[in-house]
Structure formats: C-alpha cells, structure tokens
Symmetry: none
Subunit: 195 residues, 4 copies
C-alpha cells in the first residue's frame, strides 16, 4: 500500500510524458517564431531539453509534431473567431477579429515558414475552420450592408487568409504595417459608394 497510488490514479507517470509533449510543442512554437530557425527534430529537442528520439516518439514523426505545434497556435484563434461570430454583429466581429488575428500572427510570424508540401491534417482543418468563420462574418456583414456585395465572401475570406499571414510575417514587422493593412483592407471592403 505504501508504494501503490490511491484508487484514483490510472495515469502513473503519464504526467511527465504530457509535460514533455508540451515542452516539445513549446520548443517547436518558439522556434517557429524565430526567423530562420532550422526546425529540425534535433533542434527542437535540444530547445526542449529532450532527446531527439523522445520528441519523435511523443508525436510519431516530425510532421505530426509540426502539425500539433501549428494546431496549438491556431486553435485559440479559430475559437476566438467562433466566439465573436456567436456574440457580436458580423461586421464588428470581422473588424475585431482581423485586428486580433494580425496581432496574434505577428507574435508568431514564422509560423509555417517551412511547412510547404507537408501533410498536416490538424493544421489544414483549423485553417479551413478559420477561413469558414471569416466567411460567415463577411456573409453576415454583407447582408447587413456593411461589406461590398460585388465580391464573393468565400473569395474575400481566402484573400484575408492569404494576406493576413503575409502581413504578420513581413520583415521587418511594424505596427504601422499592420495598421495600414487593416485600414486599407477594411475600407476596401466597404460597399462601393460611387462608380
């Protein structure tokens, strides 16, 4: 009885594993936020204070690790978009969300710099969710007459998806650039006043 855990304890040392998973994720995220970081398994592991094999085992492969890292970055963003959609008028939601999106991306501006050509299902799904939420915002705002009606909301959403990340990743990053992006984009999205 002295060594066995109480009746509540199925996970014996799982806690450490979870912690190391998070360490590896955090290390990957940190490296993604640094320009030109190498993002090799070895580098990530060293940053996390772990062995290279450990991080591979914890995720089942480098791709899965990167997928999990990007997903961890993206998940709260998507959630925030959904929350805004539920709580706020579409156009206000769009304005609010865009600002937050850029601010968030700017804090992790190197995200998916080296992710081209990889199979990242969680990331793909989250990006789709994000684009979908933005599309709903735009659709609603358009119905409210707040956004121009001559462009397809899906296309506008894709446009935002493509450019927001680029602005966030711009070198050098500057608040002025973000401000200009938001200003131009939102003004450009307003309904046409005159031909």
């Amino acid at each position: 009885m002295s060594t066995s855990p109480g009746p509540q304890g199925p996970p014996k040392r799982r806690a450490d594993a979870v912690r190391n998973r998070e360490l590896a994720l955090a290390a990957a995220v940190a490296l993604m936020s640094e320009r030109g970081a190498s993002l090799t398994v070895e580098t990530i592991a060293r940053r996390a204070g772990l062995g290279a094999a450990t991080v591979v085992r914890a995720f089942g492969g480098k791709d899965a690790l990167l997928d999990a890292a990007v997903a961890q970055l993206l998940e709260p963003v998507v959630q925030r978009a959904r929350d805004l959609l539920a709580e706020t008028a579409p156009y206000l939601a769009l304005r609010t969300f865009l600002g937050e999106l850029i601010a968030f991306q700017a804090a992790h501006h190197a995200v998916n710099e080296q992710l081209t050509g990889l199979d990242l299902p969680a990331t793909t799904a989250l990006r789709a969710g994000l684009v979908g939420a933005v599309e709903e915002m735009i659709g609603g705002a358009r119905r409210d007459g707040e956004v121009r009606a001559d462009l397809d909301p899906a296309v506008i959403s894709a446009l935002i998806g493509a450019t927001a990340l680029a602005v966030a990743r711009a070198e050098p990053s500057s608040p002025d650039l973000v401000h200009a992006y938001l200003t131009v984009l939102l003004d450009g999205l307003r309904p046409h006043l005159a031909a």
Copy 2:
C-alpha cells in the same frame, strides 16, 4: 600578374562560361515556376544540360545561383515599374503595375518558396528597388489626390510588397482571388470620403 591575363588577352573562352551561366539560370527559373520542383543542384544542372559541378562553379555556390535566378526574374519587373513611373501618371502607373505584378508572380509562384534564411543580396536589392518604385507611385498618386493621405507611402508600399506575393502564391491559385485583391486594395487606397 602571373595569373591575370595581360592587357592584350581578354578572357579567352569566357563565352562558354557565360553561356553556361545563362543555361543554368534559365533552368533554375524554369524550375522555380513549377510547383513542387526539387530545386537541387543536380536537378537544375540536369535541366540545363550541364554537369552539377559546372553550375556550382559558375556561381560559387547554390545560394548565389538562386540569388541570380530570382534576380533575373525580378529585374524586368523592377524595370517595368521604373518605366511606368517615367511614362505614366502615378496612380495609373500604380494600377497598371499592380495587375502586372500579380500576373507575373502568379506565373512564377514558386519563387522564394525555399529561400527562407538564405543570404540573397541581389534579390534583396531588387526587392528594395521594387518597393521603392511602388513607393514613388504611391507618393505621386497621393500628391495627385488619387490615394489616401493618412498612410505613409513607404508603409503602403511595404504592404503591397508583402501581400502581392502572398496572393500570387496562394493555394489554390484563382483569378477570382487576384481580382478581389486588386479591387479591395485599390479601393482601400482611395482617399477617405468621410472622416
């Protein structure tokens, strides 16, 4: 003096070297225009009909080769921007150039897909030249009252530089996206109608 040719001896077989340089450049440019091309030295050399060592030797390293290739791609674009600046009213030049820029980038959407973290001086310089030309267009258009005055032309230029490439490289590429980008951007750049 022993190794350098005398004044009577211009480079003897430099013609071959120049030709091979151009072959390698053309091959690299062609590969950059194909999604998912491998862009290894071996691949480039095979495409050029040359040996791998030849292309390395012709440029002194892979980075320099890529730099030269991207520069070759970018150079006419920059030149076009300068020509438009010289010949056309600023705002019209801007509108014209933006459309051409996107079309060009879309035709070479793989450019600097794998260029992160590399030291590419020629590319950097040309990009600066391009951004500078756009900045002049915007400055002129602003003086003509064609572009909003509440944003710094340099910042707008940086914004265009950051987003144009992203739109051109978007996956999947679509004319609608390009159209929406140009529409929103240009409308967003118009002077404010109401404070």
Copy 3:
C-alpha cells in the same frame, strides 16, 4: 548468504515473475509463428500485455528472451524424439519423427528467421539434442538394415537438421513439397540395392 533468502522465506512474489516470464514467452512464440512479425521487444511486450521493460528484465536481454522462446518451441520436439527412440523401432521412429518434425516446423515457420548471429545457448543445446536423437535413430535403423550403411549417421542427421527446417520454411509452403521431401529423403536413405 546475505542476499539469498533464509530457509523460512521462499521467494515472496516470485509467482508474478514466473507468470510474466511465461506470458512473454508465449507472446514471443506466437509472434514467431506469424510471417513477417516484427519481433521487437515492444511488440512482444504488447502482445503479452506487459511493459517492455518487464520482458527485458525477466530475461536479461532480448537475445535471452528469443533463446528461451525458441527453446520452448524446440523442447517438446526433442522430447518427442527421445520418446520415440525409447518406445519404437529405430526406422519407424525415424519415419514418424520426420513427418512430425516437418509439420511442427511448418507451424512455426518463422522460427529463427531473425536469429542469425545471435548467441542462443539453450537453442543450440536443444538443436544438438535433436540432432543427437536423430543420429541415434539412424544408427539403430542402420544396424537393423533399414538405412543405408555407406553414410555416417552423424552426417545424415546433420543433413536432416539442415534440410528439414528449410523445407518447412520454404516459400510458398505447400504440402506437396513436404510430401516430396519425405519421400525422396526416406527413399534415398534406404540401403543401396545395387552397387
């Protein structure tokens, strides 16, 4: 004496250890009977419902585990050979045993597929025992005039040892092949009719 238990204290939880040993052995044996099974420590442990460290600890290393597993497979075969020797006329014993040996090997055709170069003392000893038993069968059958006398029984036994396994492991396995093997071998072992 200090480490060995006193006469009043037999091994306390040795029962668990013994049980785990048997679980691991059974798992290893089961995996050896499946074509292309991976036979890693992890795989064996999972099949046994144990932790990987447990199976290693129970045997002191993977080699010892495999040795014990093969030995467990071979032991009843050797015992059967000894029983037949004791109970049956040599030549009949030989005919009977050969059929059973092939059938047994065919049921565990993956045995020692991945065992090359390993140090497996128990397996080696059992194989020697098996070869010895067969040698006795042949020697007795030769004395009875049932087997040709121009070949050394030890050599014939080695021949059987080498070929029986190969036939059992042949790809693809077929009853016809086994039948042909037994037919040709036994006929070839009969005494020479004509010089």
Copy 4:
C-alpha cells in the same frame, strides 16, 4: 584539342565508376560469405574502401545493392544450368549441376541470410530461372526413365531449391554433408524399384 579525348570517347571517367561499382559488389559478396557479417551500407562501403554515400549512389539504395550482389553470384550458376541443359542428357545434367550448385553455394554460404522480406527483382528472377532449369532437367530425366515419375518435377525442383541452399549454408560446412546430400537426394530421386 589537347585536353579533349579522341572521337571514340563518350565515357570520360565512367571507368572509375564501374570499377567502384564492382568494388562495392565484391565487398557485398565477400560480406555475404562471412557468417554474421552485418551487411550494413557502412560496413560494405568500408570493406570496399569507399564512402557510404558512394555505394548508395552507385546502386540507388541498399536493396538494389544487395540485389545486384546476389544476382552477380547467381547469374553464372543459372547460366551453367542452361548450358548443361543444352549440351547434356537431362539426368547427367542434373547430377552434374547439383554437385556444382552445392559447391558454389558452399563457397558463398551466407548468401541471402538477411534478405528475407526485401524486394530483390533480379534475384527473384534468377532464382526462378534456376528453378525452371532444374525443372527441365528433372522433366527430361523423368521422360528418360532416370527419375521417379510419382512426383511433380516442379515440386522436386522447388525441393532442390529449398534444400541445396540450406545444405550449402549449414554450420559447420563439411564435404561429407554435401556428399551425403547429393547421394541421398539422387538415390531418392531414382525410380521406385519396389512398393
């Protein structure tokens, strides 16, 4: 003109590459003939006096290297079987070939020790050719009344294929074992004299 080769020379340094290919093949073959040799790319390369990457590049992968090595070993054997078939009466061809086959295999007794589960097309094809040739020998000998008619030649051929290699690889290798194998096998293949 001084440095360029004469008009006959398309392969400039291909000779060295061919030589290194052969060095690598010879090293692989040599290692296959040693019990317990590790057969890693590194080991083979070191034995050949080459870098590991060189042997990989020369063959395009480890599997292809092993395939080529085994094929090189097997090719003259298959050729010899075909020659015997063409020149000699079937049963004599069979007797002759079996002796040579064993002798040859015995000289390379570790061949395909670690080859299970690999995709080796050349090896597979050559083994099929060998089995086919033996099958023809047996079929012809059977028509001549030299080999028993109650067993399918294809099955007998498979039997020989399975056992000959095993005998050649037996540990320890001994001339007596080979002699016994040939004696028992050939006698066992003779037509049935009495029920």
